[in-house]
Amino acid sequence: MQNMQLCTPLSRCPLCVVCCWRTGTMVKYFCCAGLLRSSWDQVCIAFWQRYPNPYSNHVLTEDIIFREVTPTNCLKSRRLLTKTSRAPRWMEPYLPKQMASSAYIIEDSIVDPQKKTMTTLTWNISHARLMCVEERCEYQINRDNGSWTEIRREAWISSNIYGLSRAIQEFGLARFKTSVTKTMKGFEYVLSKMQGETPSRSLAETATERARETALAAKEKAKDLASQAQKKQYV
């Protein structure tokens, strides 16, 4: 899995796009590829049934709030999710007291059954001034094995809080990587259930374990940056 960082203001989160342009904040970019050993059709079916699963205890509600079939027979949907909002302890002094403990996320998707592609875009519509996370995924048939599905995932993470944006971005990136692990495990669980099997260890799990280790390292870096920022305040 690649882990790239870009310094151009690419964030287009609707609630923080103006802030990013004005301050020219850095945006963390993350890109990875995952593999599911199930057909593209099965993965799309599982996509709509992925909640709840044992790895999604942080997802509280799920609703389809828009859906239509286009003239070209593509399915466009918008899903609204409520997730628990967990901030690390070092961030708490910087959060407003009345900040909500749950976050709202929108997920737009287009399923093209002719081309066998699905594209999803997910972003948070709450807590956006604190941190904006946008994730884009492409689900396609694996080029080497027609009965497998590959997922290409990109994320853009940005924060606008003066003096802490780097620490928040590192935290956001660490948490995003952990959530990718959970997403893949959740998918595998749901796919196994659909096929009447019990989930087994797979290449995806091995790959996502590496992501977890990277995420832990990034989390430590975030803590360091935050304590450095705090020291600077009192100097």
């Binding site: 609630l15 059709d41 709509w48 044992p54 509600t61 609703d63 466009k76 259930k193």
Partner: protein, 122 residues
């Protein structure tokens, strides 16, 4: 005849033999990995998610069941005969849109796939 209650002799601490260590109680683990290793229970309906509007969960469940069937059996197979879930979807949407307004959830004003429109091809 009334039973005579006799007090049980109290064993002095010094003369107690070494008590057998109790085996630890089995831990009730709710970790995802343990849950994930269990096969799905036969005959039980799969758990469903709640709607953001508490009153809409049943309508959501009815719609989801209809949609999942249509999606797998018709849509993905290229059958364009039409969506049979229109009525259940409308009932569900009336409920959930009202709940979204009541909770002031800021869903308006964003185009479909809007945030990613201007992103450079990566």
């Amino acid at each position: 005849m009334a039973e005579r209650l006799t007090a049980q002799p109290i064993t002095p601490l010094r003369s107690r033999s070494v008590t057998q260590r109790r085996s630890p109680l089995p831990r009730l683990s709710s970790s995802p990995s343990r849950y994930a290793s269990l096969p799905p229970a036969a005959g039980l309906e799969p758990p469903t998610m709640n709607s953001v509007g508490e009153a809409c969960t049943d309508l959501k469940r009815d719609y989801d069941q209809c949609f999942n069937r249509w999606f797998a059996e018709k849509f993905l197979k290229g059958d364009r005969s039409g969506d049979p879930c229109g009525e259940t979807f409308r009932k569900y949407q009336r409920c959930v849109q009202k709940a979204i307004q009541e909770k002031d959830i800021p869903i308006d004003g964003v185009d479909f796939m809007g945030p990613n429109k201007d992103k450079p091809e990566s």
